[in-house]
């Protein structure tokens, strides 16, 4: 059985990480930024999975599963915060918030 070298996975995850980071700093919509953060998280996860192939135990795989759960928690909390921000300011565009004294 032929194998794909780990370095190919690393390149793919580097591309994904850079894309996610660019989305995060480019877009002004908070939900869009959150999607960029998800891409970053998944790029890191891809690295863990790719390296878990080199390991006798399942450390990389386990870490990947826990990262998945933590990512879901982050998503739920962040979306509810964004919802509450929308109720306060009537928009979710980062950089346009003004204090409502």
């Amino acid at each position: 059985m032929t194998e794909i070298p780990v370095i190919y996975f690393l390149w793919a995850s580097a591309a994904l990480f850079a894309t996610g980071f660019t989305i995060m700093i480019l877009k002004r919509n908070a939900i869009f930024m959150l999607m960029g953060i998800e891409l970053i998280l998944n790029a890191a996860n891809l690295n863990l999975i790719a390296f878990s192939r080199q390991d006798d135990g399942q450390q990389g795989l386990m870490m990947g599963i826990f990262v998945l759960v933590v990512g879901v928690c982050e998503m739920a909390i962040a979306l509810s915060i964004i919802l509450q921000v929308y109720r306060q300011f009537q928009h979710i565009e980062v950089g346009k918030f003004e204090s409502r004294s």
Partner: protein, 169 residues
């Protein structure tokens, strides 16, 4: 070019292409669709990396859960009252494209440089069989404490999310 390499290349093109589509589109709903394609490609990449358990759970959690959550978020926060100059409500404002692209590309090339220059000491030990049984046994023996901890964390996060999202007036 072995078949598995061709499959890997197709999946990478799907994943990174839809990531770039997310980057270049300005419609947030199109971006959610592109994120769906990206997650499908990532699940395929996990299969190619011999992590079938991870692929299935990724598919279930991201495509089934997180994407629905994001779509609900988009629907609940569309700005109806915004002055629309011939654009729809899903249009997203952007910062300067040039500087973001410069920062993103420099991060990409820095990562490539680090990955290429590092001397990896790798030795393949895994076999081609499914790891489902190993993962299940490990979750209940060696990793039982982190597993319970993550369960409690998930519970706390979900309760907290519903509490924060509550309309308090």
């Amino acid at each position: 070019m072995t078949p598995i390499l061709i499959a890997f290349l197709a999946l990478v093109i799907l994943t990174c292409g839809s990531g770039l589509a997310m980057l270049f589109t300005r419609n947030i709903l199109h971006a959610a669709l592109a994120m769906f394609m990206c997650m499908l490609g990532l699940a395929g990449l996990y299969v190619v990396a011999y992590a079938d358990v991870m692929a299935v759970s990724h598919l279930m959690i991201y495509v089934g859960g997180v994407l629905i959550l994001i779509l609900f978020g988009i629907m609940l926060t569309t700005q109806q009252s915004r002055e629309n100059h011939g654009q729809n409500h899903l249009w997203v404002e952007q910062r300067s494209f040039f500087w973001s692209a410069v920062i993103g590309l420099s991060i990409f090339f820095a990562l490539m440089y680090v990955f290429t220059r590092t001397q990896w000491e790798l030795h393949l030990v895994g076999n081609d069989q499914s790891k489902l049984r190993d993962v299940g046994v490990a979750l209940l023996t060696k990793y039982a404490f982190p597993f319970e901890l993550v369960g409690i964390y998930l519970l706390i996060a979900l309760v907290g999310a519903t509490y924060i999202a509550k309309r308090n007036d």
